[in-house]
């Protein structure tokens, strides 16, 4: 990068660039609050899920399975399987944020969500010379929008007591956010190959229980992307 970013400039850049996510986090978190209280969880239970688990897809999984009276261990295993991708995000952030004190890595880990991972790894790769303090500042800028409002809107949804009209099709808020995050990543052939393998794998393996199918599909997609990258490099070298 031409000019070094100051810490506060990086923080506010993170806040600014992640602000559009609120348009999706707000309805999605509210929807969680509504669904959770409809399922019979009280306010404290619903809020604990949003504040402590801090991962929408897994929270919906818990509420859905608990209301279906699924066995305790199945609920826990399924929710953690849905969150297995967070370990991959953790691995992907390690080269960028691994050289910080253990307690700082703890705070980073607690606030690590799909959006912060996607936005931060994109920025870090684009500006590899950023200092670790600048990277952290940008990370927490994104986290401010990705995490704090999530808890607030859950409370609004849980106390609203009135369902959002079905015509709003809020079920599609999550896919649209993720698509908006994926689109800009598809700039090279290996990335496109990985995305296609991920989609095909997840659909074909959707019958595999406990969301393990998604994990297998993700593994295959990462392998396909890496192999395509190597193949392109070899072809260029010839």
């Amino acid at each position: 990068m031409s000019k070094p970013l100051s810490t506060s400039a990086a923080y506010w850049r993170g806040v600014r660039e992640s602000a559009p996510l609120l348009m999706v986090i707000a309805p999605f978190g509210m929807l969680f609050g509504i669904v959770s209280s409809d399922a019979g969880l009280n306010l404290l239970e619903t809020m604990s899920l949003s504040a402590l688990v801090l991962a929408g897809a897994a929270q919906f999984t818990v509420v859905q399975l608990v209301s279906e009276q699924a066995p305790t261990l199945v609920v826990i295993a399924t929710a953690l399987a849905v969150n297995m991708r967070l370990a991959m995000y953790s691995a992907a952030l390690t080269p960028w944020l691994g050289r910080t004190p253990w307690w700082m890595r703890g705070i980073v880990a607690y606030t690590l969500v799909d959006q912060s991972f996607a936005m931060c790894t994109t920025l870090y790769a684009r500006y590899p010379d950023l200092t670790i303090r600048t990277r952290l500042a940008y990370y927490f800028g994104v986290s401010t929008n990705a995490c704090v409002p999530w808890v607030v809107v859950t409370w609004i949804g849980a106390t609203m007591g009135e369902a959002i009209p079905p015509w709003m099709a809020l079920d599609f808020a999550l896919p649209i956010t993720f698509l908006a995050l994926i689109g800009p990543m598809l700039q090279t052939l290996p990335h496109v190959v990985a995305a296609l393998v991920s989609v095909a794998g997840a659909l074909v393996l959707s019958g595999v229980p406990y969301n393990i199918g998604l994990l297998i599909a993700a593994g295959l997609a990462m392998f396909a992307g890496a192999q395509t990258e190597q193949w392109l490099e070899r072809r260029r070298a010839q």
Binding site: A39, Y89, A118, A180, A195, A221, A226
Partner: protein, 113 residues
């Protein structure tokens, strides 16, 4: 709240605690363990494709078999997907992609009633 009575509170709090701790450990795993050590190039190459390997697969079933339509493929959601991804690839802007996707979703839902 008739449903509330059927949920075992002790069991529910055990689930909340276990999922919260387990999720934190998943998030902390590599950041916490590996810390200052450098990762080998093969691992780094694989990690470049983490996001693009997980996120499309996570939403693919929601796009193709939406729960709102009882798992039946739905033209509004499929067209919204195409609109979002096209605008996202072209503009690289999260906000415009979301606007395009939502606009397409609502117009097709409105037209098809």
């Amino acid at each position: 709240m008739t449903a509330a009575a059927s949920i075992d509170q002790t069991k529910l709090w055990f689930i909340i605690a276990a999922v919260a701790i387990g999720t934190f450990l998943l998030r902390y795993s590599f950041l916490g363990m590996i810390g200052n050590r450098n990762l080998p190039p093969t691992v780094l190459r694989l990690l470049r494709y983490t996001a693009v390997g997980v996120l499309p697969g996570l939403i693919a079933p929601l796009v193709v078999w939406p729960q709102a339509t009882g798992g039946q493929p739905d033209p509004a959601r499929l067209l919204a997907t195409v609109a979002t991804i096209a605008v996202a690839m072209y503009t690289r802007s999260v906000i415009w992609s979301i606007v395009a996707g939502a606009a397409m979703l609502y117009s097709v839902l409105y037209i098809t009633g």
